[in-house]
């Protein structure tokens, strides 16, 4: 392909030429680690430990070698055994022979050759850690999607329709390929190589478009054989090597392909791939409108609050001195009323006390006694007689009653002691 344009100065020595052939063949990924099915013939193990045989079927054959200790050889393998080998193509320059360097050889059992090759591939990928490799997350908004699928296929029509529903006019490059048959895996690998170029910022700039930032590779449902390209190692290796995230979108929900195991996103169907990677533009717009509204509202509210606070402070500032005066006045009023109350109660107490004194004065006034029929005795010199010893026989004295007095004289004296 590329050799045709090379400038040569003369005829090439054959050894050099074979070396060039060798280089071309061994650098082609399709020829490396390929799973190949065929029948064993001319099986020969040498003392050196190497095993040589020919892998053949009805249409062709190729010599193969298993280097000593390179891989386990099932004891059942013998002349005529159907096997699946995983091998690299190499050229034995000395003889110009193309041969398979076998890395793995397995007899075909009931599973069938393809299933076996798939199983081996998955196992190998698992051992290499490719199944657990970190995945690249697809962009939230893909700026340039590359879709690799059957040209004019129903799956493509479905995807196109779905994209237009979700994001009208979303930038995309569809690469139409064969998705089944002998040439499918080769075409898919080439298409993936093109997406690598389209993802290159320099190439993208030349083309005047953003670099490809998402690759969807897939096809609609079909028989296991129809989908088989997505189980083949070259396709799988290309997906793994992709610098942009790859979505595997093959067949129906129930189909599990090796591409599903290694892609950055596994979609159950082509339509599902679109649903998972193309956002609904109207929803994003609505969400942004909402944020716009919330942003403005929250900011307005903060400023509104601040203004309200300011107005409140202003109003309080205006009435603050009055409030001081009022407070003074209130406390004075309260003091006054307390004083009043205190004075009043004191006065009342005094009044009560006076009244009671008056009352007792009233009861003990001599006149009150006279009213009850007692009389007060007074000698002529005015002394009040309080006992018999103050009197003598014949002595004149006055008897005072309530309404007047009478003169009397002592005619007889009895003392209490005498009577007792």
């Amino acid at each position: 392909m590329t050799g045709r344009g090379e400038v040569t100065t003369g005829p090439l020595p054959v050894g050099q030429f074979v070396t060039m052939v060798k280089r071309a063949l061994t650098s082609e990924p399709l020829f490396q680690r390929q799973a190949i099915k065929g029948e064993v013939s001319q099986w020969k193990s040498y003392a050196s430990g190497h095993t040589y045989f020919t892998l053949r079927d009805n249409d062709g054959q190729m010599s193969a070698v298993i280097w000593k200790g390179r891989c386990a050889i099932h004891p059942s393998i013998k002349e005529g055994t159907e096997v699946v080998v995983t091998a690299n193509v190499d050229v034995y320059v000395k003889r110009g022979n193309i041969q398979l360097i076998v890395e793995r050889i397995e007899p075909v059992n009931a599973l069938g050759a393809m299933e076996e090759a798939k199983r081996l591939l998955v196992e190998r990928l698992r051992n290499e850690g490719e199944l657990d490799r970190p995945r690249t997350r697809p962009p939230v908004i893909p700026k340039h999607i590359a879709i690799i699928t059957g040209a004019g296929s129903a799956a493509l029509a479905d995807m196109q329709k779905l994209i237009e529903n979700r994001w009208p006019g979303l930038r995309r490059t569809v690469i139409g390929v064969l998705v089944q048959g002998q040439r499918a895996s080769e075409e898919i690998v080439r298409a993936l190589a093109l997406t690598r170029r389209l993802a290159d910022p320099v190439v993208a700039a030349q083309r005047g478009e953003p670099p490809v930032d998402l690759v969807i590779v897939g096809r609609g449902g079909g028989s296991p054989e129809d989908l088989w390209a997505f189980n083949l190692e070259p396709v799988i290796r290309s997906i793994i090597a992709s610098p942009v995230p790859v979505v595997s979108a093959v067949g129906h929900e129930s189909d599990l392909l090796v591409s599903d195991l290694v892609a950055d996103v596994r979609a159950s169907t082509p339509s599902n791939a679109i649903e998972r990677t193309v956002p609904v533009r109207a929803e994003l717009e609505q969400w942004l409108d909402e944020l716009d509204e919330r942003l403005a509202h929250a900011t307005r509210r903060t400023f509104g609050d601040a203004r309200q606070r300011l107005i409140g402070l202003h109003a309080r500032l205006k009435v603050a001195p009055l409030a001081g005066i009022n407070m003074e006045r209130r406390s004075m009023l309260s003091l006054q009323s307390r004083l009043n109350r205190a004075t009043e109660s004191k006065l009342a107490n005094e009044r009560t006390r006076l009244a009671s004194i008056e009352a007792s004065l009233h009861t003990i006034h001599p006149k009150r006694v006279l009213e009850r029929g007692y009389a007060m005795t007074q000698t002529k010199d005015g002394t009040v007689v309080t006992n018999t010893k103050m009197l003598e026989l014949g002595q004149e004295f006055s008897l005072h009653f309530v309404d007047g007095s009478a003169e009397a004289a002592v005619t007889q004296i009895h003392t209490m002691e005498e009577e007792q």
């Binding site: 939230v140 040209a151 979303l170 490059t173 569809v174 690469i175 930032d213 994003l284 716009d292």
Partner: protein
């Protein structure tokens, strides 16, 4: 261009954070104003990203695209 997905994602996340902070309130006016301005700029970025996703629809056979890229190659 490769950082554009980061740009949208980060812009959107930052924008959400700003709106949430403003909605919680309790910030000074200076800070509020600054955040508002940042938010408004982020909003513009996000809206621009939506528009940037629109573009040409190419639909080619593998060989034609290979040809096209071949002729474009420097």
């Amino acid at each position: 261009m490769t950082e554009s997905k980061q740009t949208y994602n980060e812009a959107a996340q930052r924008l959400e954070a700003i709106v949430a902070t403003l909605e919680r309130g309790g910030m000074g006016l200076d800070e509020t104003l600054k955040m508002y301005e940042e938010g408004a700029a982020l909003l513009k970025t996000c809206q621009a990203e939506l528009i940037a996703a629109e573009g040409r629809l190419n639909e080619l056979r593998l060989d034609d695209l290979e040809q096209e890229l071949q002729t474009e190659a420097p």
